[in-house]
Symmetry: C2
Subunit: 294 residues, 2 copies
Amino acid sequence: MNIGFVGVGRMGANMARRLRDRGHHVTTLFDANRAAVTALAGEISAIACPTLGDVTAGADVIFTVVSDDSAMRSIFSGDDNLLVHARGKLFINCATVSPEVHLEAEQLAENVGANTLEACMASSITQAREGSLYLMCGGREEVFRRAEPLLKELSSSLRFIGRSGEAAKVKALVNMVMNINTAGLAEGLGLGHALGLDLTMLREVFSQTGAASRVLQTDGEDMQNRDHATFFSAAHAAKDSGIALAVGEAAGLDLPLARATKEQYERMIAEGLGELDKSGIAELTFKDRRSKSA
Amino acid sequence: MNIGFVGVGRMGANMARRLRDRGHHVTTLFDANRAAVTALAGEISAIACPTLGDVTAGADVIFTVVSDDSAMRSIFSGDDNLLVHARGKLFINCATVSPEVHLEAEQLAENVGANTLEACMASSITQAREGSLYLMCGGREEVFRRAEPLLKELSSSLRFIGRSGEAAKVKALVNMVMNINTAGLAEGLGLGHALGLDLTMLREVFSQTGAASRVLQTDGEDMQNRDHATFFSAAHAAKDSGIALAVGEAAGLDLPLARATKEQYERMIAEGLGELDKSGIAELTFKDRRSKSA
């Protein structure tokens, strides 16, 4: 079995490295960033393909790890797309995109005799490299069962959620709640700082009380120390919260916390902080940290 | 050493029961709710005092567990107050009130030769009964050291934070972040429900990902099952978020998540849901659960 990758940013590249380490044949790669794809091709002895069609031609299973809805639509239906001579191929789509985009991709693929699976990742770069991703899959269950051994190489937790698009919904909800908790934590620590409290003490108290959360563990110290090296960018957080909000509005729900959170992440983008890690949201709340306004 | 209690709601009553179980002399009680104080007095063989002055007269250490700033001010400076013949007495103030109210009480007490300690509780009724409260104390350190053996009878975690009012600040921040996480969780589960997802699966995914939080453990299942028996009421949540917001505004901070959360809890009060547990905030987000508006 030959494996292709479309999108070799830090997530995609680490997944490709992991599969190669485990003895799989990663053969064809594509990325609009030619420098990135050429470097990775050299590193893992794969081919940096000039077109998407070449990726499909050289692989049986193609992982797609692109940035957003528009990129996903483009690789499945653009002038150059993955579905040329695609009969029998399997596309495993790992990007965080809207649920309906997974359904569209599945339909387009099935029209030409191919299959898709959505594999939403609720983890980050390190887990991709180590094969310890948290993967939530959507699609036809028999397709999932076929891909399961390969997906296990990448994941420490693998879960079949339901039909195409369902995993994207769960992922959108995970990120919506995570982003709310992150924005709330930033307010708590920012206010603690303004009150002159010892933030190391405050984080410890948070961790022992009703204020405890996963993002306190992953982002609390970074917020205190202004260490915003990017694992999950603010721009991504804004996008993901936007997906959840759009789904919520379509369902007729009012989600004031999700909305306030999205507005905060959009403020980061507007102030030129969008490429900081999501922990950088603390820069908005801590006094005297603001880049622009007072 | 004789011990008095002012405020024998569920928290105060359980603290009094616990101290009595541990062999302490709980002698004098006061509560505006005469039925409650009379019942507890009978249960633990204490005196239901007609005035606050009687509580002080009959005790060396007086715990106050009242509802809000105005009640705290009243018991220390109203026409009938605790500071009559109070020289040498110690008042341990456990209510969640504004930081400045702790400072006022300390000053008033010291004017008559008494001491105060703030002992903020980040736990609930069950922990009060079991002596496993999470207690954060503020005041003079020598006063804290003197009260420490008694406070250990009530707590599994006891921490000296700093001068009077500092523990209230930390408590306000804990509850502010907890309330944000609770409101955010309600939106996540409410949206999951609207999308037809299995909420037991969704809560499990949340618990394994960046959406994990203490309130997911304590309130997630209750939100799903509409079990809103009150441990920490929505009205209390609104009050505590209000304390944090007021402190934040005084510090010149913009706290959009805290504000949105307070508005949600105030909506609960406006819709007659204020006496539900804080988990009842899910009633606002889940479709078809709303008591009044659409």
